[in-house]
């Protein structure tokens, strides 16, 4: 019961913040709302008994991505004073696409039978994840590829920022 109440609270926080992100007229406020949405998602992860992902959510999305967005904002001139328009002339097309995407996703969601395991999350789940990450039979290769991906992201970023 408590869990359900908490789920509703965190879900409401996430949704309300997400709506505020797209309706906020001030870009800086939009980012702050986005951070609140991330926080709500972290709460949902805790309810799913995945505290590592909750902490990673705070750590990466609030501590790094959010900061990066604010940062990009600070590099842009005059975002604070201008009241930017919320829509441009393509809004009708985008609305149709968004509704279509929502329909497809809901359809998929309802079609699929979601496998559920009638078992509590073990205390060693994080260790299992760690072992699986470097197990060549399981995620060993993707793990290394992730590293290469990060390297590429870094090289790309440096190339773009220094190209002047």
């Amino acid at each position: 019961m408590t869990q359900l109440v908490l789920f509703v609270i965190f879900g409401a926080i996430t949704l309300a913040a997400a709506i505020a992100v797209v309706t906020a007229r001030n870009l800086f406020h939009a980012v702050l709302w986005l951070l609140l949405a991330f926080f709500g998602v972290a709460g949902l992860y805790v309810l799913l008994e995945a505290p590592f992902f909750a902490a990673a959510q705070l750590f990466i999305y609030m501590g790094a991505i959010g900061v990066l967005i604010i940062y990009a904002l600070m590099l842009t001139r005059g975002v604070m004073r201008q009241q930017v328009p919320l829509v441009n002339d393509q809004w009708a097309l985008v609305a149709v696409l968004a509704v279509a995407l929502l329909a497809v996703l809901s359809w998929l969601f309802l079609q699929h039978t979601w496998p559920t395991v009638d078992q509590a999350v073990g205390p060693d789940s994080l260790r299992t994840l760690g072992e699986a990450l470097v197990d060549p039979g399981r995620y060993g290769f993707p793990f290394e590829v992730a590293s290469v991906l990060l390297v590429m992201a870094l090289i790309g970023a440096v190339t773009i920022v220094r190209e002047r």
Binding site: F52, A64, G130, F143, S147, L154, I155, V161
Partner: protein, 120 residues
Amino acid sequence: MLEQFTFVGFLFLVALFLGLFMFGVPWLLRLRPRKSSSYKSDPYECGLRPHGEAWVQFKAQYYIFALVFLVFDVEAVFLFPWALAYHHLAFYAVLEGVIFILLLTAALIYVWRKGALEWM
């Protein structure tokens, strides 16, 4: 697991209470009169009246540091489960983690050689 987070939840409420208490009590008390004048409420600029906008544009250099940070941040999240399982891993599995780190070290060296870490 969730029982332990009950404590975290309550601590969050206590922390919020502390923050709001420190913030709210002076606001409610209002022991000193608020006398505002246009000079007093100016943004502080060492005694002169402020000149121009506060939100000035900055150079992109800061952005590189933030991006490099982001990459290493994501790396750390990958490495935490690995370090946690360290005792249970075979030697080659530890080496896999080391290769993961070395690849990123190579990226850091690349950025360094490119001169992106130089402050200008």
